[in-house]
Symmetry: C2
Subunit: 218 residues, 2 copies
């Protein structure tokens, strides 16, 4: 029975650690990377500041854990979309659209993961790299299937991410339409631009993007 109890304790500790990371994630999503403060995160997790240091050696490590979690969540969403698509080109289109939609829906998160200069770089680069690698692969698949013209896939992937990210900071047009509609239009425009950049003719691209379901983030 000794073992049993010990395991329960371990479970409690793991849960608390997860709660701390979750709190940090919330802060990142809601207020951006720069706004992450130990006391604030601790409060959100319902514990004292010092307790955080029983689970993480430093703020940097905590932020790293949070960004890793958020990054994986994004990657998973993209992966899901890509896998669900019927062929290489629509997989690429789906990935592009999902990425953009989620970025537009959570600009602070997108910035934190991709662009924010705060914090010692390393972690952010991990997500960027993973993302670029995945897009690179999707592009190469599409090329191999003869659905895209031959090109430097790695460079294209990198530039692609940049172009799509630009949407979240770029100038919102003064919206007369309801917010959701504007966001959807923005996502669609960006995705079309991106696909055209890769060499997809416009009409074809439109079909690919429109057929993609725009999801809720999370």
């Amino acid at each position: 029975m000794a073992y049993r109890r010990t395991e329960n304790v371990a479970r409690r500790l793991a849960a608390r650690r997860a709660a701390i990371v979750a709190a940090a994630c919330e802060t990142v999503v809601e207020e951006g990377l720069a706004a992450v403060q130990i006391v604030e995160v601790a409060a959100r997790a319902g514990i004292a500041a010092g307790t955080v240091y029983r689970y993480f050696p430093s703020k940097t490590e905590l932020v790293a854990a949070a960004l890793a979690a958020l990054g994986e969540r994004e990657m998973a969403a993209i992966e899901r979309a890509a896998r669900a698509a019927p062929g290489p080109l629509s997989a690429l289109a789906a990935a592009v659209t999902i990425f953009t939609a989620r970025a537009v829906a959570s600009p602070r998160l997108a910035i934190a993961l991709i662009a924010d200069g705060a914090q010692p770089a390393v972690v952010r680069n991990a997500y960027r790299a993973a993302l670029a690698a995945r897009f690179d692969e999707l592009i190469r698949n599409a090329i191999a299937a003869g659905r895209l013209p031959d090109q430097d896939a790695a460079m294209a992937a990198s530039a692609l991410i940049g172009a799509l990210s630009a949407g979240v900071v770029g100038p919102r047009p003064p919206a007369a339409a309801p917010e959701a509609t504007v966001a959807r239009a923005q996502v669609q425009s960006l995705a079309l631009f991106a696909l055209r950049a890769l060499g997809v003719v416009d009409a074809r691209a439109r079909g690919l993007v429109v057929q993609t379901v725009l999801p809720q983030p999370g």
Copy 2:
């Protein structure tokens, strides 16, 4: 003569103010926005920390002035390139190429002006907006001249900047070739990608980009 002397003093003060801004600019270019510290900038300008506050009410204002100066310098370089070009499409190509070349040559500067999350945003957005406006205009000109397919120029301009900026943070290919050559190749690839995204056919774009002279930043 009273007037004469007064004017000399004013000149000295203006010069000193300029020196402070210049020092701040150097720091931004060399070490990034986050590394700007009053004491360090003051030392670089050859004065004491307190003196800075005779010329600027706060660090924020100083940084704003520095970024404004740097932004204008970039805009001027782009403007020069665009004006020198023979037609709307090559003006656009020239602007794209120069922007990219300078960004690749001074990554820290590019990041500070475009992406860095440090400092209360406002100033950076000014440059971004100016840049986007200029590209928007160049794109619209090219469309009007029938050299580009019709499209949402504002969105395209924004995405364009994002795509080009991505190059400076993106993965450097492991360079076997000398640094300068790699940089030039990188600039060319990015510029081609960007022009294709705007609807220029590849062969035509290559000609436009290659003919552009890659300059020294400054």
